[in-house]
């Protein structure tokens, strides 16, 4: 059976050029693939190129060279976007809207209407445990609540593939646990999850496959089991060792 690749990056490079002739390479010839139904973790220290990668997969940035395919198409193709969900890092939504108004706005962007729209919103509010705060304006939400309503908006179209950028960073233990529980539910539903993180415990617990980026380059990739020697080493130790080795050889 052929592999069902849902995200493909081949020789992906992103170079920013600024005046007068300064060139900054944030991604350098990166290649990896994600299978349907997998939970994929893209790891790396701050500034490694994780967010740049996700933005390239979402069509917010265009590659300087190399190619990106998402669900077999171009990332900015509306048909592809209709099947993708995205939770940005530290989301700041429209603060003057209530949680429900915000989800209604997102549903309208997918042309959802009528009873189906309201039913979907109620389901999602239930899933993320926000039904009781649905009529509260977003400016009154805590960071954990914003993150949960952010996940709800990312799921409004029942996407096949969900990008999550640092979904658990900066949350208190309760918020952290709640987000972890939602991600596990999505995983159990067979969704493909692609998340950026530098919180190793989460990645080790949730991901099937990981790739480690350092200064824009791919320095390691594989299943969590293969990288950790089936649990002989923690993912955190593997991560630190990999980054230190990459530093030592000047990558």
């Amino acid at each position: 059976m052929m592999d069902d690749w849902i995200v493909e990056a081949v020789g992906l490079t992103k170079v920013y050029t600024s005046f007068p002739r300064k060139r900054v390479t944030t991604l350098d010839n990166v290649s990896f693939k994600v299978r349907r139904g997998e939970t994929f973790g893209l790891l790396g220290p701050n500034g490694a190129g994780k967010t740049t990668s996700q933005k390239l997969f979402l069509g917010l940035l265009r590659p300087s060279s190399g190619s990106v395919r998402v669900l077999g198409g171009e990332p900015d193709d509306p048909e592809v976007r209709a099947r993708v969900g995205f939770l940005p890092e530290n989301p700041y939504f429209y603060t003057y809207l209530t949680g429900r108004e915000f989800l209604e706005f997102c549903a309208a962007l997918f042309d959802m209407r009528g009873a189906a729209k309201h039913q979907r919103i109620d389901e999602l509010l239930m899933l993320v445990g926000m039904s009781s705060a649905a009529e509260t304006q977003l400016r009154r939400y805590s960071k954990g609540m914003l993150q949960r309503i952010g996940i709800a908006q990312a799921l409004i179209n029942d996407p096949e593939l969900i990008f999550l950028d640092e979904p658990t960073s900066g949350l208190d233990p309760l918020g952290h646990k709640q987000i972890g529980r939602i991600i596990k539910t999505l995983k159990a539903e067979g969704k493909t999850l692609f998340f950026n993180s530098h919180i190793m415990v989460d990645v080790e617990e949730l991901c099937d496959q990981v790739a480690i980026l350092h200064k824009g380059r791919l320095v390691a990739s594989g299943t969590v089991g293969a990288l950790t020697g089936d649990g002989r080493e923690s993912l955190e130790d593997v991560f630190v060792r990999t980054i230190e080795e990459a530093e030592a050889i000047g990558r």
Binding site: K55, R62, R81, A108, R113
Partner: protein, 254 residues
Amino acid sequence: MNQIVAIARNTFLETIRDRILNAILVFAVLLIVASILLGQLSAGQDIKIIKDLGLASVSFFGVVIAIFVGTSLVHKELDKRTVFVVLTKPVNRARFLVGKLLGLMTTLTMLTILMGLAYLGLLVFLGVPVEVGLFQAIMFSWLELIVLTTMTLLFSTFSSPVLSMLYAFAMYFYGHNAQTFKLLAQKAAPGLRELLLGAYYVVLPNLTHFDIKNRVVYGYTAGFEQVGLAIAYSLVYSLGLFCVAAVIFHKREF
């Protein structure tokens, strides 16, 4: 269409729930009232002054709100990263801009109506005759707002709010003196300078098409042709500005 309506509605809610806008609106209505009352107290109790100051206030505050709110329209979405939520959904970027523009225009239309009603209501209250020309002057100010709002939207697709505001005010002041450039072009010796001045006159906005305030206070009424020209100029020029904004926004990376 559903998407455009959703974005426009969201922008409208965003702008009317903004406290700064409410403050400007209260200040505008107060100033309209004060200017009319001040006109009453002035020597000779000239009705012209009452009409003139009120109309100038309606127009001025519309311009201030269009430029202040318009310049932050796209920038705010980038700054708060809300644009990521919208543009990663199947939303065409030009439609996003149409929605933003329609949302702000809805707010400005509502404000123009409110300020216009405050102004005309006060004139009626003071027993000053309300002529057709006064309605026309308010409508012309609204047509000017369409041009200014689209222009600030264009600036906000590539520039910071402060710079966009400076550009927009510069264009506003140029636009009201566009005839000077035309005269300069006509008087310049044939050559590059004449060409450049002529080009400025054609490309940059000519807002004198919308300025009938000084005449209507003397009882002037714009003819069918002048009204048609103002509407056509506002729509065609704004469409041109919008097309440039859409091209820049389409190419932009986030």
